[in-house]
Amino acid sequence: MSATKTLPTESADPSLADNASIQLVTFRVHDVMLAIDIEHVQEINRLMDVTPVPEASSMIHGVVNLRGDVVTVINPHRVFDLPEDGDRSAGRNLILNIRGERIGVLVDSVSDILTVSRDELSARPQNVRAIDRRFIQSVYLRSEDLVVVLDPVGLVDTIND
């Protein structure tokens, strides 16, 4: 059975709910640290039985049964052209809610949830090589590394094309 962790949709701390700050779910795909605005993340699941879909785009990993709904799972390794890790034990299925449709993203591990001020985010710098600029919403520079904040709508729409 998959353990489900439902994320808070509203922050308990009222100071965080204002428009000045944003909560990011950070996760790793191969060696790239990525993040998605928590607004778009519905839940994080362990990896489930995935059914491959014949003739689907290679960016699509397959479909899973999410409490009775059939949900498409995206393989970001294929989207960003990153090598796939052999070990999937820490892997998670990040369930996004994009315009009412639930879509899974297969990530190698989920790190933590950051609360950052919007001022700290910089718009699409030139120096991000690993990820196509189409998917980048902004970048957050931490002391030790760099977190690429993805535009989930852009990500999902790109696969359609």
Binding site: D49, T51, P52, V53, P54, E55, A56, S57, I60, V63, V64, N65, R67, G68, D69, V70, V71, T72, E101, R102, I103, V156, I159, N160
Partner: protein
């Protein structure tokens, strides 16, 4: 409630108000001078409500059109305007316009409806005086509105009683007051709306009160006042039928959840079945079995029942009457009759028949096309009709009804009918058919050529139909929703198009097949049969690049699902012959699919795929199987279009003349599957079984050496299979099934320790004959080798004494006959030859009708009787019979037709062709009796 909400509410309500208006206006037109007040009032009120709300929301164009339409209707109601085709036409146009405006509500104010308004005004102006009085009437009475506003509760009763006193004043009253409400200056919108709605309520109650009063009046003229006051009191009570509007999304979600519940229930039932088996095993070993499992059984059964009912109820919420679609046809027929210069009347039946909302919506377009077709091609012009001795006006009947868990829709016209020969020649012209195939084709099949792609029979292409893209699209669309369509026709008398539709789309009976380590669902509606290759009659052959399946003389394109679905997970090329074949049919295309395994049949709940996957051509959706994993549903049409490209060249060049589109004879037998232990499987033909009973094993008693059972007040002799047939062991469960059948006038029960299934099985080939007593042959049914029991042979061995008595009686009249048997199934051919030879008859057997005819024509004096199967390749039994009867030499030749299922229709068809008797293949006593009586009769005629 904010503005957009209000607007949505208005649109929903207006749709409801305008929903039936077309039908109602047409009824008003049909009644002409004899105006039905109730009907006109209903329409009037509907338009009035739309007008009021539109004015309130500032929808000026809708308000303007509805205001004028309301006035026209008012005039009709006041009997100052007699409805005729002209003014009803304008009213219909106005109703159409209102519908359009409501569908694009945001831009409605920018539309220009001046012309329509002028036409409506013109109708009004024809008698100016009455309109003027109505306008005047709305000038006064502002004070009264305030009263309504303040004491709105009382006004209902007051208004109601008022109507009792003066019914004639009522209609103008309500109209007047609503006009006043709008004219109140400076009142807040909310108040206005409240008053409006109160007024609407009041108007409704008024009507109800009036209706009640009138009926009361009619019933008892003596106590008029009493009954009317009573009905007024009742009228103020709340309406008894309460409904609630629910979003389709909510229903869909509910439906989904119910589907999930069904899955969970299935899993639970499986788990419990497993547990109870274990328990049983423990009990057998002498361990004390707890009754916990017994308890669980009961709980599970309860859950099972509730779940089923819940699912049915939720399904019910999605059901809509088919009348929602039928209602739009009177208008279409009316307009068509005018434009085609024909007189056509439409009759609809079964408007109340319900089916899933999605199906009701999906069937609208195909039905429209078929109705147009019936009017255009079917019903003739009045001149032609009168010349043919028919009434000048034609009738189209649209009928819906339930049959065998399906919804049937028939479109029947009494027009010219379809000429099969014209269709054939046309099909040859268009290259759809070659001359040979056309000659072989029966009239019934020929008529259905209209559904072939690129077919149009209209001599002149009209704008009504006949663009040549119609009927095949109709068929495809109907098949898309799991339905079917068929046409029958009597030249000169008319045609009937019959559509079969499923009750629901949400749950689809499917076959689960395995390819590699994946499972796929295949909707049962597209499956024709499952085939096991035998290397002879059924085998896989290569033609150029493509593989084909040879099946009973037909070649079908073969597609390997493993290849088409691409399974990168296991690239190992498995043994090509180690596969199972599923023959599917979609539209005009029939082909075989090779899968690794056929696993199970399951009722699956269709789950839509996300938008990234919804357009994949090979998939029709997905489902969640019992173990919680997702499986894809295959789209056979998608697969067909894929292989069309791949095999086109191969089949055209290499296999000329061998293709017979769609024509495969079927010999499906309904079999009861049973076993005495897990190693001994048996099958019994359902045709000879009277009934099956489940009984406690301890009810079986031994009378001497023989088992029997007290049953319905008498003793039922029983036979245990192991008395006659060798079995490895016999299980003795607590409950057994008794398969009751009749043999030589006696009822006998066969003891069946385990009953597995009743299934349709194709025994045409793949059956090995064996000469064991009581066994007719061995076949592979449901992947298990199964012995087919010959119940008569079995009984004869088990109870020889019964046959001695009857045998001696028969011997005096027993005649030996020379019989020609035509039967395509090797199994039945051998079975019949053996059975009849045992009785002393001389048998010649052939594989099909064509060979049978050759044999008969060459040796006309060698046969006393012809016995023929109905469904056969080359020449079927009916055609053979016709040919035989047409030849003068065989007037006296008795013909017995053999069938697996002797339904009335085919029986009638056979008798019409000249068949003397109909017999079920496995029913030996009846068959033998029939032979004797027909031979005796022939002798008499010859001697006489």
């Amino acid at each position: 409630m904010d503005e957009p909400d209000l607007l949505n509410e208005f649109v929903a309500e207006a749709r409801e108000h305008l929903g039936d208006i077309e039908i109602q206006l047409l009824q008003i037109e049909a009644m002409g001078e004899a105006i039905n007040d109730g009907l006109v009032n209903t329409v009037f009120r509907a338009i009035h409500s739309v007008k009021g709300a539109a004015g309130f929301l500032g929808l000026t164009q809708i308000n303007g059109v509805s205001h004028r339409l309301e006035n026209v209707l008012g005039k009709v109601r006041d009997k100052k305007l007699i409805p005729d085709p002209y003014n009803v036409d304008v009213m219909l146009k106005a109703a159409d316009r209102l519908k359009q405006l409501i569908e694009s509500i945001e831009s409605s104010n920018e539309t220009d409806n001046t012309e329509l308004c002028e036409r409506l005004d013109k109708i009004l102006d024809e008698e100016v005086a009455s309109v003027a009085t109505a306008d005047e009437a709305s000038e006064d009475g502002e004070a009264e509105t305030v009263v309504i506003n303040a004491e709105s509760e009382e006004i209902e009763a007051e208004a109601a009683s008022e109507s009792v006193e003066s019914e004639s004043a009522r209609p103008s009253e309500s109209r007047k007051s609503s006009a006043k409400v709008k004219s109140i200056p400076g009142k807040s919108n909310a108040v206005k709306k409240r008053v409006e709605s109160k007024l609407d309520d009041a108007t409704e109650l008024l009507d109800e009160a009036q209706g009640k009063k009138q009926s009361a009046k009619a019933a008892t003229s003596a106590s008029t006042s009493d009954s009317s006051t009573a009905s007024v009191r009742r009228a103020t009570a709340p309406a008894p039928e309460s409904t609630i509007r629910v979003g389709v999304r909510v229903l869909d979600r509910l439906m989904n959840l119910a589907g999930e519940l069904v899955l969970s229930r299935n899993q639970l039932m499986q788990a419990i079945a497993g547990a109870s088996q274990q328990n049983q095993a423990m009990a057998d070993q002498g361990t004390a079995a707890s009754n916990r499992v017994g308890n669980l059984d009961a709980i599970a059964a309860g859950l099972d029942q509730v779940t089923t009912e819940l699912q049915e109820s939720i399904m019910q919420t999605r059901m809509q009457p088919i009348g929602n679609v039928f209602n739009k046809f009177p208008r279409i027929i009316r307009d068509l009759s005018a434009s085609l210069g024909k007189q056509i009347q439409l009759r609809t039946e079964g408007n109340e028949v319900e089916t899933d909302k999605t199906i009701v919506e999906a069937i609208a377009d195909p039905l429209t096309h078929l109705i147009r077709n019936s009017c255009d091609h079917g019903v003739e012009t009045p001149e032609v009709r009168t010349a043919a001795g028919k009434s000048a006006s034609g009738t189209v009947i649209l009928r819906a009804y339930h049959q065998a868990g399906k919804v049937m829709i028939e479109i029947i016209d009494d027009g010219a009918g379809i000429d099969p020969n014209r269709l054939k020649s046309r099909a040859i012209e268009k290259g759809i058919l070659d001359a040979d195939a056309a000659a072989r084709m029966s009239d019934r099949e020929a008529v259905n050529l209209i559904f072939a792609p690129g077919f149009s029979t209209a001599a002149v292409v009209t704008d009504v139909s006949g663009r040549g893209v119609g009927m095949d699209v109709v068929r495809t669309n109907i098949e898309k929703i799991g339905g079917g369509v068929e046409v029958t026709s009597e030249l000169g008398q008319g045609s009937t198009v019959r559509i079969t539709l499923p009750l629901t789309l949400a749950i689809v009976p499917s076959m689960i097949v395995g390819v590699g380590d994946r499972r796929y669902a295949l909707p049962q509606s597209s499956i024709v049969e499952l085939v096991q290759t035998d290397g002879k009659e059924k085998c896989i052959q290569r033609a150029n690049q493509a593989e084909v399946l040879r099946l009973r003389g037909t070649l079908l394109p073969l597609v390997r699902l493993r290849q088409i679905l691409g399974n990168p997970c296991d690239s190992s090329e498995s043994d090509l012959d180690d596969c199972q074949l599923v023959v599917v049919e979609t539209g005009h295309c029939k082909f075989a699919m090779a899968v690794d395994r056929v696993l199970d049949s399951e009722e699956i709940v269709v789950k839509p795929l996300g938008r990234h996957l919804s357009n994949l051509p090979l998939l029709a959706g997905s489902t969640i199987l019992g173990d919680g994993r997702v499986a894809m549903i295959l789209d056979t049409a998608g697969i067909a279009s894929r292989i069309d490209l791949a095999t086109e060249s191969a089949s055209d060049e290499d296999l000329p003349g061998e293709r017979q589109p769609g024509e495969v004879a079927q010999d499906v037998q309904r079999m009861v599957l049973l076993s005495v232990s897990n190693r001994d499987r048996f099958a019994v033909s359902m045709d000879i079984v009277s009934r099956i009973e489940r009984v406690e094993a301890d009810r079986i008693e031994m009378l001497g050496e023989r088992p029997a059972m007290q049953y319905r007040g008498s003793t039922l002799p029983l036979i245990s299979i192991d008395e006659v047939v060798k079995v490895s062991e016999v299980d003795r469960p607590k409950q057994v099934h008794i398969i009751v059948f009749r043999v030589y006038g006696r009822e006998v029960g066969l003891i069946s320790p385990h009953l597995h299934d009743i299934c349709d099985s194709d025994l045409t080939s793949g059956v090995q004959m064996i000469r064991d007593e009581g066994v007719a042959g061995i076949a592979v049914i449901q992947e298990t080798s199964t012995r087919l029991l010959d119940l008569y042979g079995l009984t004869k061995v088990a109870r020889p004494d019964w046959f001695e008595v009857t045998g001696s009686d028969d011997e005096q009249v027993q005649r030996s006959a020379r019989i020609l048997v035509c039967e395509d199934s090797t199994f039945f051919r051998t079975f019949l030859t053996r059975t009849l030879a045992d009785e002393g008859h001389k048998i010649t057997s052939v594989e099909n009708g064509e060979l049978g005819w050759c044999e008969l024509a060459e040796h006309p004096d060698d046969f006393d009787m012809l016995m023929t199967d109905i469904e056969m390749p080359e020449l079927d039994g009916i055609e053979l019979t016709r040919r035989v009867r047409a030849d003068g030499r065989f007037d006296e030749l008795p013909i017995i037709a053999l069938s697996s299922l002797a339904d009335e229709e085919s029986t009638a068809r056979g008798r019409a062709a000249g068949v003397d008797d109909y017999q079920v293949k496995m029913n030996k006593p009846a068959l033998l009796a029939s032979i004797q009586s027909l031979i005796a009769k022939k002798m008499e005629t010859v001697e006489a």
